[in-house]
Symmetry: C2
C-alpha cells in the first residue's frame, strides 16, 4: 500500500547568543525554496533511522554537524497544504545547545537568527518555531531545561538571567536562590570561581549529570 505521504523531520535548534535566544537556520540546498533560509530538516530514512527522534538527530548532525545534549519531540505538523510536493508529515523536534559547543562542533554552514525576530520562512516553519518557543517557555518554568543553553559550569546569576530571558519575566535574586536550594539539583564546583571586576562568583553544575530535572514547583 502506497499512501503517498511524505514523511520528514524538522529541528528547531535554539541557543543563546548575544544575550538573546537564537534559532539556527540553514540555506536550503535544493528545491523547493532553494537558497532560502529554513529549519534543518529532511526525509525519514527507514533503513537508517530506528525512530523519528533518531532521524531528527541524524538530520541535525548531517546538516549542521551538531550533536545536541537535549533533543525532544515537539509536535507533528501535517496536511496537504504545507508542502507543494504533496501531503506531508513533519515530526518536529526542538533541541538546545550552548553557544560554545555550537561554535566548536558546528560545520559553519548555518545561521543564527534572534528567536523573536525570525524572517518569513517556507512551509510552516514559522509556526513550528512558535511551538518550540512556547514549549521551551512552559517547560522552563518547572524544570532545569534552561541549563542546556549554558556551559556545563555557570554562576547562579547566569542561570537566573537565562530563566528571565526565556520566560520574559524578571525574577528576584533572593527568591530564585532560595527555590534553587530547595529544589536541590545544583552543586557548587570545588575551587571553580568566576572572576570579574567585583566579588567573584561560585560556579555550579547540575547534580544529575546531563539529565533534565523536573521540579514540583515553578522557579
Amino acid at each position: 500500500m502506497n499512501q503517498n505521504v511524505i514523511t520528514t523531520v524538522d529541528v528547531v535548534l535554539l541557543t543563546l547568543a548575544g544575550k538573546a535566544l537564537n534559532v539556527v537556520l540553514m540555506k536550503r540546498d535544493r528545491e523547493p525554496f532553494k537558497n532560502q533560509y529554513a529549519l534543518p530538516g529532511g526525509y525519514i530514512r527507514p533503513d537508517e533511522d530506528v525512530d523519528v527522534t533518531a532521524a531528527a538527530k541524524r538530520v541535525l548532525k548531517q546538516k549542521t554537524g551538531i550533536v545536541s545534549p537535549y533533543l525532544e519531540q515537539l509536535y507533528t505538523f501535517s496536511g496537504g497544504a504545507r508542502d507543494l510536493r504533496g501531503w506531508s508529515i513533519s515530526v518536529a523536534h526542538y533541541a538546545l545547545v550552548n553557544e560554545s559547543a555550537l561554535r566548536k562542533g558546528g560545520n559553519e554552514s548555518f545561521f543564527l537568527f534572534p528567536a523573536d525576530n525570525v524572517p518569513p520562512l517556507p512551509f510552516d516553519h514559522n509556526k513550528i518555531i512558535e511551538f518550540a518557543l512556547e514549549r521551551l517557555r512552559n517547560k522552563s518554568s518547572y524544570s532545569s531545561l534552561p541549563s542546556y543553553l549554558l556551559p556545563p559550569q555557570f554562576t547562579l546569576t547566569e542561570l537566573q538571567h537565562t530563566y528571565e530571558l526565556i520566560m520574559g519575566t524578571k525574577l528576584d535574586k533572593s527568591v530564585f536562590r532560595r527555590k534553587l536550594s530547595d529544589l536541590d539539583f545544583l552543586e557548587p564546583v570545588k575551587n571553580a570561581i568566576k572572576m570579574g571586576k567585583h566579588r567573584p562568583a561560585q560556579l555550579y553544575k547540575i547534580k544529575k549529570d546531563n539529565r533534565l530535572v523536573i521540579f514540583d514547583r515553578t522557579v
Copy 2:
C-alpha cells in the same frame, strides 16, 4: 519518492464508568492481530484528511461512531519494530467523552477496560495508553480537562471526585472550592439542583462553552 513509511493514527478514548477511568478498545477486524483488542486506529488518507488530527477524528467516528468534545494530539510513535508490516508512524491522539454520550452516540462495537488494568495489546498500544494517562494527569492538574469526562452539568463534589480519580490524590473540599471560585470558570445553573437523601447540590457548568480552560495555579 517512495519512502515506504506506513502512516497511521491511533486514538486513546477515555471515559468514566463505574467510578473508574476506562479506555475504549476494539476487536481488530483485520490482520495482523485480527480479533484481538487494540486501540481504534487506521491509515491516514491524504485524499480525505486535511491533517493528522482530522484523520484521528475520522477514524474514531468510523470505528466507534463517537465524536468526542475533546481530542488532542498526544505523541508520535515510530520505528521499524512496532509494526510487522514495516517501518511505521502512528500519530497518537487522546480524547475524552462522558459516558452517556458514549452510550448514546457509540455504535456498540467497542469495549471498555479499566485504564489501570489494560490487557497486553498488540503493537505499542500499552505504551501509547500510558502516555495518554500521563498527559491526562499532568494537564488535569492545571486545567478544566476533567470536565470533559462529566456531563454538561455536574456538582462540585462530582468534579472534585473526578480530579481525585485522575490524579490519584485526595483533595480537601474547602480548598478545592476556594480555588475553583478564584479560577472563575464555573457558573451555577439556575434552578438546577441535584437531589438525594441529603441536602441537594447545586449543578454547575463551564462558563466558556466547551472550551478548555488553563489555570495559572494547580487545583
